[in-house]
Amino acid sequence: MTGVRRRQLLAGAAAIGVGTGFARRARAAEEIKIGAVFPLSGNAAAIGQDAKHALETMADIINGDHDIPMLLGKGGGLSGLAGARVRLLFADSQNNPQIARSAAERFITEDRVVAVIGSYTSATAVTISQICNRYQVPYISADNSSPSLNKQGLDWFFRPSPTDIDFTKAMFDGFAAFGEKTGEKVRSIAIIHENSVFGSDSAKLQASLADAAGIKVLANISYQANIPSLAVEAERLRAADADVLMPSSYTSDAILLVRAMHDVGYTPRAIMAQDAGFIDPAFIAAVGPLAEGVMSRSAFAIDAVKERPAIPAVNRLFRASGANKDLNDLTARELTALQVLADALDRAKSTNNLALREALRATDIQGDQTIMPWAGVKFDATGQNMKGNPVILQQQKGEWRAVFPFEIATAPPIWHIAR
């Protein structure tokens, strides 16, 4: 066997190798399956159904032939994977950690998804992320904001969105900035929160940050979610009469609380909500003018159109997808999570799990390539985005306006807390 023949043979073998490799990639390329686990029925079904529309909208942007000024907004499919299209599979977690776990496991073992996206509540995120870690499949946390999730020591966890720590810091940064600007400083707050993980964590963070900022906590009221009445709670808040009311509530209780405060003739001077129920369009629809002036932290500002030109087109597609509402904090995060995952797939040029993880770790997206008001997306060692700075929104004349940070604000804050 001569040297030449040997080389030719090797080249031939390599060619075959490349060929089969390519063929496999091309076959995989036709459709890349991604599992999405959300509460599609039960108490949080509304959130899950919206999440479904948001993810489908992003999948349509990736797969279809659009011309949207953002990452993956142009052309069809993922060019790094020979024009592959992403296909979403949905499973209902019923907001139950055991069902969420088995749904994720089914996606991984039966459907061979390349990654799992979820999941709204932190209890379901714990079991999904744990099972993804065991099977070495990335879990993209779209809308879980519990700070403990990226501290589980998992190698396959990635969260493009900010955590509750970032969110709560932004609120107090906002207080300081508003005080600076108007001369009306926050001296006291009243906290009211539902007593599951979301509300309790949020209240703990708020109390400790208030302490650090020298702000008095005049009331710290915890209640059980979905209780028939919040009238007494409203009374206690009226009695406390703090500069800012800081609620952490789901939609049902947010409606009840704001109506109850109105009923007893109490109008807080400022409300700074921990997102959730207070940014649900159902809440705004239910309480109408009572929502005027309500502020909330958010990962998304729909009116930041000048800085994020993709927003109108994306929002139009989202509305047309069957959601029939504007993008909000949660849906924008879900949509962006899929964008981040698709970008990593595009760069990995492979659906191999290790390659995908490397690509996710190398993620470096500029903020203006997304619809989010963030500096960008770049993960730290725990899989947490370091550049996802939150914003403060305020209801002004029935619209959510970004009021902080001032660089991306579209309206000055309405801020009259002085007695």
Binding site: P97, Q98, I99, E110, N133, Q152
Partner: protein, 333 residues
């Protein structure tokens, strides 16, 4: 005459054990024939509920005390073994029995006041105590309150009951659990206690006249039932790897524990297993197939099925088999 009765009874009990061994053998090889991991997971869950529901059946079925608060015992078992494991490093193999002990004790203590109540009063009281426990647990920082406890994975180990892909090992764990509780129920059926409880259930006045002191025998049933439920809770915690008050102490769990026994055949040896084998797949599959398509349809199917089964087979699904067995026996006679 008495000898004949005893003879047929002994024969029946022998038949039950043989059938039990056959079913055990079948269930032991079943996952080997199923490659679909999702289906395997479904069977694991069905086995867990078969055991839990059999545990409920000891009090609810044999003794006739309809408890709507069994999630409490499930939760105590789950929390005890998980806390022992995550805080003190004690293997869940031991922790589950500690959990069983605590939940048995809790069931005994709940029984002390509640067995003075009858019928619906008892059911609502157990429901209320269960809900109180869930509320308090959600506010109790020592057990991480509402945040729950994660059992992190640090490599495969039978001693820690931890497995990378938990499905197959837990198939055998849950099978052993279901078999153990079945065995307890079988022993009870043949024991003096079993006779007492049936008497209590059938006719309180008659039982009293037979000299059975009802109250202690109910307490014994509660303790055994609670302990058996607690062991199941500990195994669930290891299987899912995460517990919080909402998933281990909720009222809906109490109903889920009772439901297989009711649908399968309350107060029977095979009812809970049969009920779990039908209900768990129906519930989970309807969610998997219908839940994501259009919200609500899965619940409609599930609700309609419960109504239909309860109305069509009030004595439970086991009656299908009993009718045939009776026919066969008649044919032979």
């Amino acid at each position: 005459m008495a000898g004949v009765v005893r003879g047929t009874l002994a024969a029946r009990r022998r038949r039950e054990v043989l059938l039990g061994i056959a079913i055990l053998a079948f269930l032991a090889v079943l996952p080997l024939g199923i490659s679909n991991v999702y289906l395997r997971g479904l069977i694991v869950l069905a086995l867990l509920y078969a055991g839990l529901s059999q545990a409920w059946n000891i009090l609810g079925g044999y003794c006739g005390q309809i408890s709507l608060g069994h999630a409490l015992y499930f939760g105590i078992g789950a929390y005890t073994s998980t806390l022992l494991f995550t805080r003190l490093g004690i293997s869940p193999l031991l922790g589950m029995f500690a959990g069983g002990l605590f939940s048995g004790l809790a069931a005994f203590l709940v029984g002390l006041p509640c067995f003075r109540l009858s019928g619906h009063y008892y059911a609502i009281a157990t429901l209320v105590i269960g809900m109180m426990a869930a509320l308090l647990a959600a506010n109790w920082d020592f057990i991480n309150a509402a945040e729950g406890i994660t059992i992190s994975f640090h490599g495969e180990s039978w001693a820690d009951l931890a497995f990378r892909t938990a499905i197959l090992p837990f198939h055998y764990v849950m099978l052993a659990y279901a078999a153990l509780i079945w065995l307890i129920a079988w022993l009870i059926e043949g024991s003096r206690w079993g006779f007492f409880w049936r008497a209590v259930k059938d006719d309180v006045a008659a039982a009293r006249s037979l000299g059975i002191s009802i109250y202690p025998s109910k307490l014994a049933a509660a303790a055994i039932s609670g302990a058996a439920t607690g062991i199941g809770g500990a195994l669930y915690a290891q299987y899912v790897g995460f517990i919080d008050p909402e998933s281990t102490l909720d009222l809906s769990l109490s109903v889920l524990i009772a439901l297989p026994a009711v649908v399968g055949g309350i107060g029977t040896l095979w009812g809970p297993l049969l009920g779990a084998a039908v209900l768990i797949p129906v519930q989970q599959l309807s969610v998997a197939w219908l839940g994501s398509a259009a919200g609500g349809i899965d619940l409609m199917v599930y609700g309609a099925l419960i109504m239909a089964l309860a109305l069509a087979r009030p004595e439970g699904l086991v009656s299908f088999f009993q009718a045939r067995a009776r026919k066969e026996a008649a044919g032979h006679g």
